[in-house]
């Protein structure tokens, strides 16, 4: 359910931004140094995403360990 909410929010926010956002910090970071920063941001997002997944997996295992102890 959380994934669901997250995804729909994501789609909506990106659709909302599709038209003419004013150039700001995001643009500056994305376009800087031959667009290399766009790559760094993408890699960062992927690592954070996988990290988040690991975190949730960790919580899931922790809950099971707690139940085992009882």
């Amino acid at each position: 359910m959380r994934t669901l909410l997250l995804l729909s929010l994501l789609i909506m926010s990106s659709a909302a931004h599709a038209q003419g956002a004013a150039p700001g910090w995001l643009e500056n970071t994305l376009y800087g140094s031959g667009k290399l920063n766009a790559v760094l941001i993408v890699v960062g997002v992927i690592i954070c995403g996988i990290g988040l997944w690991m975190w949730r997996m960790d919580r899931r295992l922790k809950r099971m360990e707690d139940r085992m102890k009882k």
Binding site: M1, T3, L4, L6, L7, S8, L10, I11, S14, A15, H17, A18, Q19, L26, E27, L30, Y31, S33, G34, K35, L36, N37, A38, V39, I41, V42, V43, V45, I46, G49, I50, W53, M57, R60, L61, M64, R67, M68
Partner: protein, 330 residues
């Protein structure tokens, strides 16, 4: 050694990521100033990217395949040089290219005093020193071409996980048991992780290249439909309380949706070969028509395989955890 594929996954991801970030872009010209010339003595400053200019560079102007050779070239540093020309009057076209040792900046100079054409100079072509293993340097993309090795594998991993899920769904229907149902939904959950990562990274890359987070594109529609289908799959599961019925209905929907999705992703884009910004669609040159594309592939394929294996590994972990939880429940 039954864990070999996990080591393979890490090794592939490591090589592909390092190569994806470290391999330099092919040298190119990025800036020429001034941007207009008139007949007479002209000095032009050229800025290169990843070039390593040395004293022997050959510079000329080209206007409708008629050339003006540089009278003198002065190299400032590896990425800057100035060249002087004696520009004749009577060029045929408005835009003149600047060529430095085989690198061409199209239409760099707006040219005044047009006419019937000029006598073409017999200029030496020259070429830059071989720069080794490089990625293609393309306008609009520039350094962000590296995202090919990070964004695109997300979709490959996702579709692989969804295919795994369909296999478990087929087994659910074939055996009419609950044994494989959990695996099917776990594969979908991990697939959705890659789907979200693909959507976010795609939106960011699109903003950096096409200027908008979301565009109306066949591939993007495909991504949106995929996300909607699997969210609907989860909603369907959530709305059936009986476990056996849920397993059966979800499996049927999964198989049905997956086949149509594959048709949509791989057949319809070829049908609607008109309006896509993605390479290989609608008149956009595919990455493969770049002469250096072999080098992109040498990094891209390991990256794809590595991410697929990592996805399978994540699915494996989640599935085992779910099985343990089931045993605890009993």
């Amino acid at each position: 050694m039954k864990h070999w594929w996990k080591f393979l996954a890490v090794a592939l991801l490591l090589t592909a990521s390092i190569a994806g970030l470290r391999v330099p872009l092919a040298p190119d010209l990025v800036h020429v100033s001034p941007d207009r010339i008139a007949p007479g003595e002209v000095t032009v400053t050229v800025t290169g990217y990843n070039t390593d200019f040395t004293a022997g560079e050959r510079v000329f102007l080209e206007n409708d395949s008629q050339r003006v050779c540089a009278t003198s070239v002065r190299v400032i540093d590896g990425t800057h040089l100035t060249a002087s020309f004696n520009v004749p009057a009577g060029m045929r076209k408005n835009l003149t290219d600047v060529v430095v040792s085989g690198l061409r900046y199209d239409g760099a100079l707006f040219t005044e005093a047009l006419g019937e054409g000029i006598a073409s100079g017999n200029c030496v072509e020259g070429h830059l020193a071989n720069s080794g293993f490089v990625f293609p340097n393309r306008p609009i993309l520039y350094e962000s071409i590296r995202n090919l090795h990070f964004h695109v594998p997300m979709w490959f991993a996702m579709i692989t996980l969804m295919a795994i899920s369909v296999v478990f769904s087929i087994m659910t229907l074939a055996t009419n048991s609950l044994r494989y149902d959990g695996s099917a939904v776990n594969a979908v959950y991990v697939g959705l992780v890659f789907c979200s990562l693909g959507l976010i990274t795609g939106a960011l890359w699109a903003r950096a290249t096409w200027g908008a987070f979301w565009t109306n594109d066949v591939k993007l529609n495909g991504a949106a439909v995929t996300a909607l289908i699997y969210l609907a799959y989860l909603v369907l599961r959530g709305s059936v309380p009986d476990a056996h019925k849920r397993a059966r209905l979800a499996a049927i929907y999964n198989i049905f949706a997956f086949v149509l999705l594959v048709l949509f992703l791989f057949v319809v884009p070829r049908l609607n070969a008109v309006d896509s910004l993605h390479p290989g669609n609608g008149g956009n040159s595919p990455f493969s028509d770049l002469d250096l594309d072999k080098r992109l592939r040498m990094v891209f394929y390991p990256a794809v395989l590595g991410w697929i294996l990592l996805g399978v590994w994540m699915f494996n972990l989640r599935d085992r955890a779910a099985r343990l939880a089931e045993q605890l429940d009993r």
